[in-house]
Amino acid sequence: MSSVLEQIEQQIAQLSTKAVKKNTGHIRTVADGVARIDGLSDVMYNEMVQFPGGVIGIALNLEEDEVGCVVLGDISKLKEGDEVQTTGKLLSVPVGKALLGRAVDALGNPVDGKGPIAATETNPVEKIAPGIIVRKSVSQPLFTGIMAIDSMIPIGRGQRELIIGDRGTGKTTIAIDTIINQAKINKVGLASGDPKFRPVYSIYVAIGQKNSNIVRTIAALEAAGALEYTIIVSAPAADNPANQYLAPYSGAAMGEWFMENGMDALIVYDDLSKHAVAYRQISLILKRPSGREAYPGDVFYLHSRLLERSARLEGKGSLTALPIIETLAGDVSAYIPTNVISITDGQIFLETDLFNQGIRPAVSVGLSVSRVGSAAQIKATKQVGGKLKGELAQFRELAAFAQFGSDLDAKTKAQLERGARIVELFKQPAFNPIPIELQVAVLFAMQKNYFDAIDTKQVVAAANSLKEFFTTRKDALLTEIRTKAALDKDLEAKLQAALEEWKPTFNG
């Protein structure tokens, strides 16, 4: 009780007796999450306005005779004639490590029932992206734990890599696996006491999704022990479109706090297709002119200003973005997908056909690319996986050709066999990221033809056996691969010896 009294006394002491100027207006109409206001002559674009009952809004349409505000709260409390005030502030959200392990809404209010968040700082939701001079090129890897991605479409810290595909192709799974992998790496790295180790904190922004999906995602992260390094920003489908529109920017503000304070963060926007739809709804209600597919003219800017905030900064940290876009019938040439593809530094394309064939993750190696490329790979991965993309490309070409006849020369047959084995090797169950050192060991085995004698259908079982062998009996070797991050002659010899030891144990 005495602390409550102290708090009140502090507030009284800070209270100014000077006249305070406010700029006001009155609600003319309120409908569909938007209030049209008479007055507010001094309001600025994107300024926070205060409605009665503690409801806030943002001024988005500054017209000659009225102001259009999106209402971020319970609109049912508002009525015509209510007084509205400007606040002189831009919308800000709480930021900091206090949000880790918590689920919040687009305004930073907790929605997980775990009590208030003790955040001491706030960041504006809308912020201009870092300029050219302060940026640093991407050279540190961000391991997703998914072998197909880390070996052929590597992602670096500070990169924007789009995950694109039809519904039900495993886009969210890739993002969640990446978050879980960061948590696993964090635990190992922090336990090692290495002063140079930089943990990666994650932010998962759920936009327009079902509440049940969001709950399932949180449960998966919690079960994997990843929630303590993750912030969940939730703007489900039941939320008003204004909150769905703001949620990615709020998440970016939280991620920027880590970046500006010398830490690395990963942010997943799931998904930006629904984000564009929410923005379209707001724009149409605000009577803004509509363009292609009824989207407003600045829908490109909606995503470009969001994704440009992800960067690697000189002398500070980084913010890596994994935006997700859902396509319809695999059409990557649609409006929003092409917009976001042109903004990001590469894409991971997931195909329904591959998914249905059992190739999961259903990554289309031919259409996927990372524009950062091997600059974001450790040397060991380049050594064992450098040729994989080319081998798979040859395999795809030959596989189509081989359907026409069975008279193939030995070299073609060998390439087909090898390609089929590589495809099998890259199959990976969901929520099961593989540490990079283990990936190196498996790919080394593939490179040295240890899987050639194994039947194609047994490759997955063989790989699992190999992984278990290395995890349980060659932990020191894996640690050496992880710390050295490159395969010298000594390490190659040790790997070869380990593989020779493993070979007779697998009866495939």
Partner: protein
């Protein structure tokens, strides 16, 4: 629908501009505009009148300072406030006093969209929101 609304707004603005004489809202001109509307009945007359009313009311509010006070307020203070506001806004502002005991003490002055709050009730509201 959208074009009708645009027409209404444009017409109301034209009438509003015609209501000024030497940069000041003129009662005679307003009467003249109303007489014209009565005689010629443009399309969407009611909507045009309502839009015109909003514009004129906003202009009147900009030239008028409503000074809400709790307890007695002398004319000299009201005149001083009006003079200060006229200087601040660069246009003539007339003061109108309105008693409002809910303020407890102090003043609240409203000029157009601007509200100058120095009442005790206002300060307590700020304190309540902060705590």
């Amino acid at each position: 629908m959208a074009s009708a609304k645009k027409q209404i707004t444009q017409l109301a603005k034209q009438f509003y501009k015609l209501s000024f004489e030497n940069g000041v809202l003129s009662a005679d001109r307003v009467s003249g505009v109303l007489a014209y509307i009565e005689k010629h009945r443009p399309a969407h007359t009611l909507a045009v009148l309502q839009a015109y009313h909003r514009l004129v009311a906003a202009e009147v509010a900009r030239g008028q300072a409503v000074i809400e006070h709790a307890g007695p307020a002398d004319q000299a203070s009201l005149d001083a406030i009006a003079a200060a506001l006229s200087k601040k806004y660069g246009r003539p502002v007339t003061a109108t006093a309105k008693r409002n005991d809910a303020l407890l003490a102090g003043l609240r002055v409203r000029v157009g969209d601007d509200v100058y709050e120095s009442s005790v009730a206002g300060q307590l509201a700020v304190l309540g929101a902060a705590v």
